[in-house]
Symmetry: C2
Subunit: 373 residues, 2 copies
């Protein structure tokens, strides 16, 4: 089994755009026809490639996209224009920072306004330009991160002229613990959001992230904003079994060597060979996002076998014990880093983190092989 | 204090190319005039930008560069040609994988040959082409990762015809624990390497990584290969105090909010506010390489004060407690993520890793501001 998917790299990712589209439809079908389903494509589409993913989602019917920064938004506008989806909504979660007004407006990007300063800035710019500019208003209901705080919310409700001249597409908030269905903060946030919403009659609303989508119609309002679930990751243990996997991660077997008992493997010799062994060196390392926490811990799949990672993770390579693999497996030229007995969830857990961080930390050296719809 | 270094991003890196050049000269001066000093620029120059760094190093006198993969090597060849350093040596540590022969030769890239298969492959290609092709021979002396193992080394020494027709620029090996000067594996490796070297009379040799450079002339041979020290990181506690710092990391203050006792901050509300507080939300998150392990742990500097990171690290932002900052500091628009009381070493330690991993995991969204020589 030989693979030319490596090209000039030593690792490659497979990214199933059809699975992303199916996941979007799966989530979209959870909410009513009066609720639209946007897509979170920030951080380069959770590390998997915002350009290709956004084009695939636009093709399948998604028309609303969220990114974090204006830089991401401008890149996405260009991608969508090239792909002949110039009218898709691009919303930027970090809002309008000082000096960004004209660049947002000229690129047709919709800021999520997070405080009174941003509201005032966007309104002032709209006034000068003599146009009604679109925006979302973000009210904090418990996250204490972005969005109007309690006092600012009260003030704004009492001073509606402060947002006069703005075209508020949505009022929104963000859930703190939606992946834990039993956390009482969910219902507290829902109640707070409903209370705020009363002051903006007729304006659509949005609250749900991936896990929120799965909490039922009370949380859906007029737009949901799934992220991680689109990429095939279950937002919690109890939700998302029907999601299609999206990501595969493969690395080149560069060398197979013989070792004898007593040999030590890798930096600082943290693994000692106990029996005559065969060790494969594989072309992925922590610079590619294969975390150092996985040394002497993870496993890879090669052919029909599984080989444990031994020794420290290097910057550009790892070493695995292939002594027990059969001859057919040893003829393979690549290893699967995520496999049936070592999921992305397990990898993240072994790193003391969540799949989101593993994905967004995938390095730039890997080839990306997109399976198109 | 306002900064336009962010451009359309929410974070930026400052990379002092002059400091890298000074560090290279500092290391180069440690070895004799018969020893050249190469530079490790793999993994995109340890995350800081291989193109700019290689150009700066070439300008200051470095003529030999190491990368991991052929993809990195071809990109570097193009960079060096544009900068009018077409003759610099580019050496690829992963050697010649199947099918890479012509691309290596056509781009003037020198493979580090790691096993008999690679030696045979390169020699066969040279024979067909009717030219003598350059290479390095890598002998493993204890790392058990890349390089000829013990049996292969013995075989090669007994069969010198196996490398006939190759132009061996260097024989080399790699140190396992050079950062721990007292580790007996250092002298064991040195002895093994000297023993192997005897069989290749007249061929230059190379053994030392950054920490190896600082272990004295026995370890220098004819070429040293520093990496991390070039980037201003001390390879161990006892070495490298004279190295110049290279990296600065800054992120935008996006919003400052008021909170009251009992408010909880960030995902899953892991931080509870104990007093009336001011909290700043800053535009860097784990997608930018600011690890989730830093939640409720790290600190940032703002103006002349220091603010602790509170709550979880989000994908695109962090929250810090700025209650105790003075008014001048609160007028700043950016935070310094690495600062006098929170070094890159400390950050790495808090993440359970080493500075190398933090650097190579720096994300693509940050602007890069290069201070040229």
């Amino acid at each position: 089994m030989s693979s030319n998917l490596f090209k000039h790299a030593d690792s490659y990712l497979t990214i199933d755009l059809g699975a992303i589209a199916k996941n979007w439809h799966h989530i979209d079908a959870m909410s009513s026809s009066t609720c639209t389903t946007a897509a979170m494509v920030k951080a380069n589409g959770y590390g998997l490639g915002s350009g290709e993913i956004t084009q695939a989602l636009a093709k399948t019917g998604c028309q609303q996209f969220f990114v974090a920064s204006i830089g991401e938004a401008i890149a996405l506008r260009s991608t969508l224009a090239e792909a002949s989806y110039p009218g898709a909504d691009i919303m930027v979660l970090h809002g309008v920072q000082r000096g960004q007004e004209a660049d947002l407006a000229n690129n047709g990007i919709i800021p999520v306004l997070n405080d009174l300063e941003q509201i005032s800035r966007w309104r002032l710019f709209a006034g000068k330009a003599g146009v009604k500019l679109p925006c979302l208003l973000h009210f904090d209901t418990g996250m204490t991160r972005l969005g109007l705080d309690h006092d600012q919310t009260d003030w704004l409700i009492e001073n509606p002229l402060a947002y006069d001249g703005l075209d508020i597409n949505y009022v929104m908030s963000h859930l703190v613990s939606a992946e834990i269905a039993s956390d009482p903060v969910n219902t507290t946030q829902l109640a707070r959001f409903r209370e705020i919403r009363r002051w903006f009659p007729g304006i659509p609303a949005s609250l749900a992230n991936s896990a929120g989508c799965m909490m039922g119609p009370d949380y859906h309002f007029q737009m949901t904003r799934p992220g991680i679930a689109l990429y095939g990751i279950r937002p919690s243990d109890i939700w998302g079994a029907a999601l299609q996997p999206v990501l595969g991660w493969h690395a080149r077997i560069m060398q197979i060597r013989s070792t004898k008992p007593g040999d030590r493997v890798g930096y600082n010799g943290t693994f000692e060979v106990a029996r005559p062994s065969r060790i494969a060196t594989i072309g992925v390392g922590y610079a590619d996002g294969y975390s150092r926490h996985l040394g002497n811990t993870a496993s890879v799949a090669i052919g029909n076998g599984v080989a444990p990672v031994i020794g420290r993770i290097s910057m550009d390579s790892i070493t695995v014990d292939v002594t027990d693999l059969d001859a057919d497996s040893l003829r393979c030229d690549s290893a699967r880093l995520i496999h049936d007995s070592y999921s992305l969830d397990k990898m993240a857990s072994d790193c003391g983190t969540i799949p989101y961080e593993i994905m967004t930390q995938l390095g730039q050296r890997a080839q990306r092989d997109y399976h198109h719809i």
